[in-house]
């Protein structure tokens, strides 16, 4: 029997994987079996990678925990859904949207590490995000106003000021 990887040497290692009753076999020579170990081997055989989010999460949380001693009490639970920190650590999933607030001291550092950032800049839902869209628009206008003043572009600044006034007036009329 030839090695299924290099198709040159004789296969001496027989690896069998059974998942949900489906049997799969791979036969390897000594050389390829060595090359094929650890991470590679696992992924080639289709077994779930040991580097899934759930698996590295607990390590991450322990690490974060060192700097936030008081927040790592794993029996703390969410007032809304009853989810505990321990459960989150094991499954990598939160129980409800309020978990983000109730576990903020643990979850935010995790988000920061996983995503690299902590500020949403994408789509905002039209209906329930209406106020947020308005607020973001106002913030941008105010920033632009500051910028034009700093650059001594007073005409542009006046334009922006009028825009802001208009929005404020519309708001108060409602």
């Amino acid at each position: 029997m030839l090695c299924e990887m290099c198709k040159k040497n004789d296969a001496v290692f027989y690896v069998t994987k059974i998942v949900n009753g489906n049997k799969q076999e791979i036969k390897l020579c000594e050389h390829c079996a060595k090359k094929f170990d650890g991470f590679n081997f696992v992924s080639e055989m289709g077994i779930i990678s040991p580097f899934s989010f759930q698996n590295i999460l607990s390590g991450l949380m322990d690490y974060i925990g060192e700097s936030h001693k008081n927040s790592t009490d794993t029996d703390v639970s969410c007032k809304k859904c009853g989810m505990t920190l321990r459960e989150f650590k094991e499954k990598g999933l939160l129980g409800c949207s309020e978990c983000y607030e109730n576990f903020s001291s643990t979850v935010y550092p995790v988000i920061n590490r996983v995503q690299g950032k902590i500020e949403h800049v994408g789509k905002i839902p039209k209906k329930c995000g209406k106020d947020i869209i308005e607020k973001k628009r106002m913030d941008t206008l105010k920033q632009e106003l500051q910028k034009s003043i700093a650059l001594e572009e007073y005409e542009k600044a006046a334009e922006i000021r009028d825009k802001i006034r208009k929005i404020n007036n519309e708001g108060s009329e409602e």
């Binding site: 289709g46 859904c81 939160l94 129980g95 409800c96 949207s97 983000y100 500020e119 789509k123 329930c128």
Partner: protein, 347 residues
């Protein structure tokens, strides 16, 4: 809601330029309903009421009712459920939740709204080719339509709230399925993975982590979902995919220059086996289909179109094949049926 009528094309039917290495592109939006626990924390009964709630929101216009239909996973048999995964209509996580989950799919199967996967709503739009902008437009339209009736869980600072922090922010995962046989042959996939990770993206084999090893089909997708806009995510993905296409084509040219006869031999032998074999397992089938696909892409084989290969790819998967013949076939009988089916289609 005529706006949802889209220009997306069922990826199986897609046979435009034969040298296109991209098989399909997909965008998935994760959304949750405000003030409801995420699916894992819901009882089956409560979860099914969420299914109804989303159906009501979506089917409020009669046009949508004609165009879409619901499939409740708790009413389907095992092979049917797995077959939905093999056809890329749903994720395997949705099938794991089969007592709670459902999906709503349109007639050409380009839109699938998964309910009670990891999140209440996983809106997936999938189309042949690499037109991610078009797909994003379509996703947004359906997302807006649902949001007219349903309040989403959303936070000003961290965006759409999802069960897993890896999806938070935009909730958007864009992925492109691409055929990379020459790069796989040269063992360059791990190198690609290392590089992609540095730019917030990842690569994995089709049908789960490891099967890229057989089919040479890989999904490239974004990992980072927060702090970047939807358009920027897909722009980055497109840039990376185009780069990979260039690399793959370069590798193929090299192979052609150095060992033209060997590669042509490999391609035509693969076609020969597929056309004549009497018993064939999934792994061998994927491997040979990849060789033939490469032959079509390189213009070495001219009389087979991609549509045939796409259907063979999906319909030779165990659950889909089993469903076509007999759900109770043993693995050996299934391997015989698979060979029969392939010979018939390549006649």
């Amino acid at each position: 809601m005529r706006g949802v009528k889209n220009n997306m094309q069922n990826w199986l039917e897609c046979e435009d330029e034969p040298d296109n290495l991209v098989i399909s592109s997909r965008i998935r939006l994760a959304r949750n309903i405000k003030d409801q626990p995420f699916p894992d924390k819901l009882s089956d009964e409560k979860a099914r009421s969420i299914v109804n709630k989303i159906e009501d929101a979506l089917f409020s216009s009669s046009h949508m009712k004609d165009e879409f239909k619901s499939v409740y996973l708790w009413r389907e048999d095992k092979n049917s459920r797995l077959s939905f995964v093999e056809k890329h209509l749903v994720s395997s996580k949705l099938v794991e939740n089969d007592l709670k989950s459902a999906f709503i799919v349109n007639s050409d199967q380009t839109v699938s709204i998964m309910i009670n996967e990891e999140d209440h709503i996983r809106l997936q739009c999938i189309s042949g080719g690499l037109d991610l902008d078009q797909i994003l437009d379509c996703s947004n339209k359906i997302d807006d339509l649902i949001e007219e009736k349903i309040d989403y869980a959303f936070d000003e600072k961290i965006g759409y709230l999802t069960a897993c922090p890896t999806n938070i922010g935009t909730g958007l995962r864009a992925s492109v399925m691409i055929h990379l046989p020459a790069l796989s042959m040269n063992n360059q996939i791990n190198g690609i993975l290392n590089t992609l990770t540095q730019v917030g993206m990842t690569i994995r084999g089709l049908y789960g982590e490891g099967s890229g090893a057989y089919s040479n089909l890989y999904q490239i997708s974004n990992q980072v979902t927060l702090g970047i806009s939807e358009r920027d995510i897909i722009a980055n993905l497109k840039a990376v995919v185009n780069q990979l296409i260039n690399q793959e084509n370069l590798s193929r040219e090299q192979v052609l220059t150095n060992c033209r006869y060997e590669i042509e031999d490999k391609i035509f032998r693969s076609l020969g086996i597929l056309k004549t074999a009497r018993i064939i397992d999934t792994a061998e089938c994927l491997k040979l289909l990849s060789n033939v696909r490469m032959g079509v892409e390189m213009g070495i084989i001219n009389n087979i179109n991609k549509k045939v290969l796409n259907y063979l790819l999906v319909n030779t998967q165990p659950a889909t094949l089993g469903k076509m013949f007999d759900n109770k076939l043993s693995t050996k009988d299934l391997n015989i049926k698979r060979a029969d089916y392939i010979r018939e289609k390549l006649k």
